[in-house]
């Protein structure tokens, strides 16, 4: 699992690739919360996520809640079939703000 962070239109774009599971999700959580604690809105690029489990979903939920309390933007972008299936199973597809692409997310939030 790899995490790449870039700045786009005043937001942090956090691109995750690989498998997010119990052993890698703490890194995802740390990266997301770090951005939020620094006061940045976040777009999470899930296009290259091959797998995500409940601990990965939990990291997204925790970051989302922290962004909300700080009135920061938080969106998911480019969610592939596999992560989307998991979000749907958790009924979180209706909770998160989900954009088709990173660009459209940045345009909407920025």
């Amino acid at each position: 699992m790899d995490i790449a962070i870039s700045d786009q239109g005043g937001l942090k774009v956090v691109a995750i690739s690989g498998e997010v599971d119990l052993s890698t999700s703490p890194k995802v959580r740390d990266a997301l919360l770090d951005c939020i604690f620094k006061g940045a809105g976040v777009v999470v690029d899930l296009s290259k996520v091959a797998y995500i489990d409940s601990s990965g979903v939990a990291s997204l939920v925790e970051a989302f809640q922290n962004a909300k309390t700080r009135k920061l933007s938080f969106a998911l972008a480019s969610v592939g079939d596999t992560p989307l299936r998991v979000l749907k199973l958790a009924r979180l597809d209706q909770v998160f703000i989900i954009h088709d692409t990173v660009d459209s997310a940045v345009a909407a939030l920025g």
Binding site: D21, S23, S54, V57, V61, E62, Q65, T82, R85, L92
Partner: protein, 614 residues
Amino acid sequence: MRDKASLSLGSIEGMGRVNGGAVLGGRGGSLSEQLDLLAEMARDFAASRDIEGAMARALARIAAMVGAEGGALFLLDETAENLVCHASFGPVDINGLSVKAGQGIVGRSVAGNCSEMVRDVAADPQFKGALDEKTGFTTKSILCAPMAVQGERIGAIELVNKTSRSPGRSQGGGNGLFADEDLKFLEALAASAGLAILNARLAGELAEQEVMRRELALAAEIQRGLLPPPGADDFPVCGVNRPARVVSGDFYDFFILYDGRIAFTLADVSGKGMNAALLMAKAASLFRCLGKEDLRPGRLLQRINAEVCETSLRGMFVTMVAGTYDPATGRVVLSNAGHEPPLVYAPDGSFRALSAGAPPVGIPPELTGGGPVPEEVLHLNGGALYIFTDGVTEGYVTTGKELSDQGFKDLMVQGLANGEDAATRINRVATLLTSSGQPLRDDVTIMAIDDAGPARRRAEKGETSPPPDDAPPVDVLEGLLCQLNLPGRAQSLVMVRRAVEVAATACGFAKEQTQDIILAVDEACQNVVRHAYGGKGGGDMVIDLRREQGEFQVLIRDFAAPVDVARIKPRELDDVRPGGLGVHFIREVMDRMDYLPPPDGQGNLLRLTKTIRA
């Protein structure tokens, strides 16, 4: 076994017989002195466990009594080709010296069972004097008397050089030469010593036999320990074993598998002695060990055969039946490697014999082409399955009359009509065979699987009988597909996901279903890592991926403290917060999630099931 006192008496009686009155009543040492010596010698041999020491003491006493400068006691060795010196007395120690039987004065004496006296060695052509050259001892005069009991040659006692001071005796003193009466006296003593030595040897053999008898009894005890303890009263499987000798070449075993099915076996090792008992112990252990891996019975027997063939002595084999029985359905999967056909009793009163599908265990796979032993799937439908050894059907009920297959069937039907349970029925057969007034011809072993009780419970629950034959085609993967044994750490999960992906795909699940199953299994394993082991990686987890009768099953076993199943529940989804989603995912994705009693009651065993749709 005879006790020491009777041995001692026996020796003294023997002496009296051998000696008669001729010598003891003769000239020289007093009669009471001579009797004392004989009695003491006999006592020493009888009481001492050290025959060699007793021989040395006896020789010393004899030499002293006769009045000899030196002496030696020779015994024929086991081959009867050599005479070996077991005790010597005097200035030269020749202990261990071996001479060819029949050679020299000692050899001549033993071969001819006659005593020899060379009053003056200088005049005897048989005397070689080679020893004298080596030892510097000068032999002047020799007495030699054979030790033999009822024609069995034992050895001889040889004395050299008459001493001048022979206590209690008057003849021959001074010139170092023996006299005729010395020889007579030695003859009597040697005969007695021979008897005492023979008795001591017999006593030793008896003691050895006693040790062996005790060891055999211990072996039998250990062997009985290999048989399973009887189950509870309503347990559907029971067995009985009566060895023809102390140890048995038969065995049976059964134990409960993770999902409530019962694995069972019954086997008969060729032969009845200790070798059969040892092979029985090996086959029984292999069944216990490999049976817990829950292979299909055909594969299990194939594995056991491979293991036995790797090390077994040639010419020994084991006829063996192995199978599983599911009390929840009455379904039996059974394989028969060369064993007497088990009998299936149907509630309509009919019997069906299940003949062997493969040669016995112990026949090398290269001879039979290897491969799993064919399996038979059947449903007991409230009937029973009887597995037994040929010691049962060929056992005598009365003189010369064998029980036979029909006799066994009749007894089962009769017992059933009398309302006896299966254990009572088979024990009745075993008792009948052991009380025929004749020794058992062969070990008697019977196992019964009685589906009557489980069928009643199934009917009470309204469960109908399954179709009679649902055996899977041979080329379809069935049973255990894969077993993972991994440390309970987060890093192990990726391996679990890969294995599940391959196994689920192999079972025909579409990509999305496979992804779902991967998620569910991953979540269940996460719970082991995070909750059972508290994230500390304190133990292993064992994950079995199985295909069972149209279902994909995942068994996850941990070795942590038992979890409180009641506390495991999915969270409310409206409550958006991190965590607590795992169980919800599992419930959503899988058809069933249930906790099973773990084997040996240790840890936790979770089963996830998903139906495979054609």
